[in-house]
Every structure is written in C-alpha cells, then in structure tokens.
C-alpha cells in the first residue's frame, strides 16, 4: 500500500515537474556578437566560448561576426548611424563609446551587473573605462599598458640594455642603424600605431595634469609640452628609426617585422606577443628573446616613468541587446571560463579580481604591474576622445611622420578639432 502511494506520488511529482516545466520553456533568442580577432587561433578561442554557452543554453543562438580591425571600425560606425548596433561588440570604451551612449545606442547594464555582485568581481579601474556618467555599458576582459617590445638578442648583440631615458633610446636607435638593423617597426598606414608614440611622449612630457587640463578646456593642445611631444617624435622620424616605407605599412606588417627579426622593437599594447606569434611560421614569435620595457622617461618632462598610456579590450552592449547577451558575458567572465580564454592563444591582462597569479610570463607580468601601479593612466587618445577629435590626432601624427606638418601645425589641428567639438 505504502509502495503504491509512493509510486502514485512520485508519478504525480514527475508529471507536475514536467507540466511545470512545459510553459516555462524559454523562447529562442539570437544574440549578435562582433569581435575583431581574425587570426585563426583567436577565432577558435571565441568560438569555443560561444559553443559552450550555447550547449548550456540551447534556446540562445549567438551569431558571431568577425571583421578585421579597420573594417570593423568602419562597419560599427555605420551600424551605429543606422541606429542598429550589434548586441555585443568589441569596444575600447572611452569617448567613442560615450558618444554611442549619449545617443542612446547602448544598453545600460549597471543594474544587471550588480545582481549577484558580478560587477564587484571586475577591477574598478577597467570597469570605469566602460562606464559613462555613472552607468556601465560594457565589460572589459583585458586592460593593460602600451610599452616597448624588443628583441633581447639584438639588444645584447649591440651592447644595449633597457632604455631609461629618451636620449638613451635615440642613442640606441643610432647604434642599431649603424649596425644595419631597423631600430623600430611601425605600421603607420593604420595610423593608430604611430599615435602610441605621440601619446606616450605627451604623457611623459606634458604629464597627466596638463592632459586633463587640455581635456577640460582649461589648457590647450597647442601648449608647449604637446608641441614638444611632436618635436621629439619628429626627431625619431628624421633619424630614420622606422623601417623603410613605414608610412605605407600596416600594423600586421609591423608585428611581422618584429617577430621575424627584421626590426629591433615596436611600441605596442599587451596583445603584441600573441599577434607576433601568429606572424611567424612556427607560431612562437621571438620566444624567449622577446623583452618588454616601459616607455623611457623624457628629460625635464612633467610625467613620471610609472605613468601609463594604454587601454583595454571589452565588449559593449547594443541598445537592443537581450538579457542573454549579459548572461553570456557573465559566463565568459566566470573564473572557469575566463581561465580557458586566458589559456588560449589570445594574450591579455585579466581584469577579473584575484586572477593576478595567472600571469606567469615575465613580460606579461611587467605589463600587469605597470597597469596596476600606474600613477596616471591615459586611455588611447583615439578612443578617449570623440571620433572627430581622435581622427584629427591620428592625422596630426601622420603629418609629422610624413614630414608634411610642423609640430606647431600638428598641435593646431588637434586643438581646432577639439574646439569644434564644443
């Protein structure tokens, strides 16, 4: 009897559960997900994350679009202007993202991220780059610093060690040139790699305070220290420190030259090693010959050598993003998944708290230290400012590189664009 009752009860329970489940079955949702890691291994790493998430959430379909960096930037711009942003897309935060947020094209996810304390698991600094007026619009998975990646062997062969000052860098370049080695690789056709040089020089010479003043319109980009930054860059160009034809080269060319030992160094962000690896046949890059050093101090500059110019990578939410897009990001940033991403060929500096011990590679450790101990942190200029000003900065730098603009003219271009943005 008891058995029978139990049986009936259990059957009833199963039925209830099944009926209860029935109506609750989730509706199919599609999330559009855009990233720009076109290298095969990187693509596979993102795909793996997406596949795992979809296996756990069968009602969600994540559609990935991968575009190469330059095409990506163009495409996202048009998508935005059509008022139709992807649900989840690669963003560098900052002024460009703010402009989207201002126009109501991004989804404010502050509340959703607070739920369950998720936002507390991510470093406050990086998250701030993806926030605007106190609201969060995206999630960074990577936040690092730009610095000089150099070929240790070439340096040792020519009796060079890490540069502490700008003059050492200049002397080092002369020495390398004399030895028939291209000192620095630069892909200036893409413009943003060259702007790293100007950016760091501005951070070292003008310092954080002057930059913030100019940003707040209390100072001007035509002030002496900014002009001086262009003068120093011009010095490097006139020296012939960059490879032949660098104005027509792309960032991929730059990474390829460095990785294949055709140039002694490049100024680049934390992704440099992994991109370099992809540029060599054995996918090992320079291996143990790769070194990292902070951008040297400039004699008499207001900035400190611990000040950092850099930025991160993350994903922003389009205004029509469904909750599942947020779920996917939370899934991605959960320690287990995040570790898988970290162990993939994509190299980055983690933004999730309590993961610093993951970083074992000495170079990446140096980047992570520089980032976390930065006295002043300046986001890439081309992202920190609205697109029209960012574009003007990139053009000004290229004008210096091509020798068509004087330092004063270059500074004037930036200030003019900034004035028009009021």
């Amino acid at each position: 009897m008891v058995k029978k009752i139990l049986l009936i009860l259990s059957v009833l329970a199963i039925v209830t559960v099944m009926i209860g489940c029935g109506p609750k079955e989730k509706k199919d949702v599609t999330v559009t997900f855009w990233h720009l890691d076109t290298q095969d291994d990187f693509k596979a790493a993102w795909q793996a994350q997406v596949d795992e998430f979809m296996a756990l959430n069968p009602h969600v379909k994540i559609e990935i679009t991968v575009l190469e960096n330059e095409a990506f930037k163009q495409k996202v711009a048009t998508m935005m202007q059509s008022g139709n942003p992807p649900d989840l897309f690669r963003s560098w935060g900052g002024g460009v993202m703010n402009q989207y947020a201002e126009a109501g094209l991004l989804r404010d996810v502050t509340k959703e991220l607070k739920k369950g304390g998720f936002s507390d698991t991510i470093g406050a600094g990086p998250l701030g780059v993806y926030s605007y007026k106190g609201k969060v619009y995206g999630i960074p998975y990577n936040m690092g610093a730009v610095g000089i990646w150099y070929n240790k062997k070439m340096f040792a062969d020519n009796g060079l060690s890490e540069f502490k000052t700008w003059n050492e860098l200049i002397e080092g370049c002369k020495k390398l040139k004399a030895a028939g080695i291209t000192p620095i690789a630069l892909g200036e056709q893409d413009k943003w790699p060259g702007h790293f040089w100007f950016g760091y020089l501005a951070v070292r010479i003008a310092g954080g305070e002057a930059i913030q003043k100019a940003y707040a319109r209390e100072g001007k980009f035509t002030d002496a220290p900014f002009v001086e930054a262009f003068v120093k860059l011009k010095e490097l160009v006139d020296l012939g420190a960059f490879q032949k034809g660098f104005l027509g080269a792309t960032y991929n060319d730059q990474a390829s030259l460095t990785a294949n030992r055709k140039a002694a160094m490049e100024l680049m962000g934390q992704w440099a090693p992994s991109v370099q690896e992809q540029q060599t046949k054995d996918k090992k890059g320079l291996g143990s010959d790769l070194g990292f050093m902070a951008f040297p101090a400039v004699e008499g500059g207001a900035g400190d050598i611990t000040d950092v110019f850099g930025g991160g990578d993350g994903f922003a939410f389009g205004v029509n993003a469904p909750d599942e897009a947020i779920d996917f990001m939370k899934f991605l940033m959960s320690k287990e998944q995040y570790k898988k991403l970290y162990d993939s060929p994509i190299s980055f500096i983690p933004t999730v708290k309590g993961t610093s011990e993951w970083v074992q590679d000495p170079n990446m450790k140096a980047v992570a230290d520089a980032t976390s101990k930065a006295g002043f942190y300046q986001l890439y200029f081309d992202q920190a400012f609205p697109p029209a000003v960012g574009g003007a900065i990139l053009d000004a730098v290229q004008g210096i590189c091509a020798g068509t603009k004087t330092p004063e003219e270059a500074a004037g271009i930036i200030q003019k664009a900034w004035d028009e943005e009021k």
């Binding site: 711009a77 056709q189 027509g248 060319d253």
Partner: protein, 311 residues
C-alpha cells in the same frame, strides 16, 4: 480665377486625349510598364540624393535627431579645408594626366592595331584584361608589387635602377599619387583603346585607301584625317575618365586609404573619412553634394563642347 480656368482647360484637353482609344491604350501601357522602373529608381536613387542635400545643412553625428541647423557652414568649411583642396586637385590631376598619358597611349595602340594587323585580337585581349579585374583585386596586387619587403624594390631591379631602391611608392606623400596613377593607367588604358578602336572602325576604310593612293604618309593621314574624325570618340574617352575620376574610391582605398598625409586623397575618400569615419554625417553629405555639383558642371561643359562641334 485665371488659374482655375487654365486647369479646367487642361482637364478638358486631357479628357479629349483620353477619349481616343489609341491614346488611352498608350497611357495604360506606359503606366503599367513604367511604374516599377520608376519606383525602383526613385526610391533608391532620387530620394537618397535629396536626403543627402537636406542632411548637408546640419551638423549631425548621424546618431540622434537633426537639430543643429548650420546652413551653408559645412560647405564653407569644406571649401576652405586644404585637405579637400588636395583631394580636388588629385581628382583633376587624374583627368589631366590621363589626357596627357593614358589617352595618347591608348590612341597609339589603337591606331597601330585597329586595321589589318596580325595578332590584333591577341594584343587587344591582353591589353583589355586588367580592366575586367575589380579595383580591389587590382589594388591589392599592386600593393604587393610596391611592398618594400617583398615587392619589386626587393629584387635585382633595385641594383640596376638606383632610384628604385629609394623610391617610396605608397610610403610617402610625394610618391603615393604617382604610384596609384600608374595602376589606374594599367587598369584602364585597355578600355580606352577598345573605345578608340570602335571609333576607328566607324571611319570608312576607303578614306584611308584613297589617301594612301594619293601618297599621303601614315603620320600625316593619322594627324590630319583620322584624328579630327575621331574627335568625338576621344572626347568620350575623356568624359569617361573624368566621371570615373570623380568617383575613384575602391582602388585608392585598397592601396593605403588615400594616405600617407592625404597624398592620394580623392573627393570620395575624403567624404568617407571625414563624413563616415569621424561621425560628421552632415559634413559628409555636404561633400557628397559638392561632388555631385562638380560632376554636373563637367557634364554640362562636355555637352556644350561636343554639341558645338557636331553642328
């Protein structure tokens, strides 16, 4: 009152016209046949152009509503921007240089192979071949040829031709335009050749034979008889290179996006960069309108020039 009268007259006239079954049929058929083409054309060509004209009067980042009316300010800014000046100059340089180099080259080849020339088809086939490639493919191929690390600079040619070793190709503001122009010639001289051959074939052979019998030598024949007769075709070739030049985008984009330092900027790359990429959609639309006005002026000028001569 007068207005009403005239409209009354119009209606009655129309009624009269409509009464005729032939006319009625013509109108019905014309309406049936023209509706679809007109809709497609109006929706996808006319409407957007008018909208561009409207946007051009605003400062607009393309994201929100159009609120910041600026009148002609965008136009003033564009026309005083030295970079746009460089872009216009480059566009006209393409026209002038094709007149000086491309069309003469095509003309010489056309005159050589147009008539009873063994292997004419073979040469024509080869010379025309680059034309069928897309500009993106052509541009990428030539980026490879010009690439300092693996291109022609990196070969024995550099030992033989000293200036080649230091030539910057796409890597310098001074040389990028010339380098791209070479590609334009390479890609389009075959088209002009073929157009000119077609023109030549319209000139009666007897004319030439008669001249030959009279002992006129070939140069004189070409110069005094063939060329004047070929003038309309040459003008047409020129017109094509003009209108084509004003639209140049793909090839420049594939070969360094108009840089370094705007050395190869054209009006359309300028529009794309300063309009789309910098989120200045009003400004970009104003550039578009200027391109449009320049194209129209050139076409009108062309019409005038050709019409006068044909009379």
């Amino acid at each position: 009152m007068g207005l009403q009268k005239s409209s009354n007259m119009k209606t009655s006239k129309f009624k009269e016209y409509w009464q005729n079954p032939r006319h009625k049929q013509a109108i019905i058929v014309a309406t049936a046949f023209l509706t679809l083409p007109l809709i497609v054309y109006t929706v996808f060509v006319i409407l957007p152009v008018f909208q561009a004209a409207y946007f051009s009067l605003y400062k607009w980042n393309g994201l929100g509503h159009l609120t910041n009316f600026k009148g002609v300010e965008n136009f003033v800014k564009i026309l005083t921007d030295p970079i746009f000046g460089m872009a216009i100059k480059n566009n006209f340089k393409i026209v002038v240089l094709s007149l000086l180099f491309q069309i003469p080259l095509s003309l010489i080849i056309a005159l050589t192979i147009a008539r009873r020339f063994k292997g004419a088809v073979f040469f024509r086939t080869i010379f025309f071949l680059p034309y069928i490639l897309s500009e993106v493919i052509a541009g990428t191929i030539w980026s490879f040829i010009y690439n300092p690390q693996i291109g022609i600079q990196n070969t024995v040619l550099s030992d033989w031709i000293p200036w080649l070793a230091n030539f910057q190709f796409l890597g310098s503001q001074d040389t990028v335009f010339a380098s791209i122009f070479v590609v334009l010639i390479w890609k389009y001289f075959g088209l002009h050749m073929v157009i000119l051959i077609a023109g030549l074939q319209g000139i009666p052979v007897e004319l030439e034979e008669a001249a030959f019998i009279d002992g006129v030598n070939k140069w004189k024949l070409n110069w005094y008889i063939i060329l004047p007769l070929l003038r309309p075709t040459i003008m047409l070739s020129l017109f094509f290179s003009m209108v084509g030049s004003f639209q140049t985008f793909d090839i420049v984009w594939a070969m360094g996006r108009g840089d370094p330092a705007n050395g190869a900027e054209t009006m359309v790359t300028y529009m794309y960069k300063f309009g789309f990429q910098r989120f200045q959609l009003g400004y970009g639309s104003a550039v578009a309108i200027i391109i449009f006005l320049i194209t129209i002026s050139v076409s009108v000028l062309y019409q005038k020039l050709t019409a006068e001569k044909e009379l």
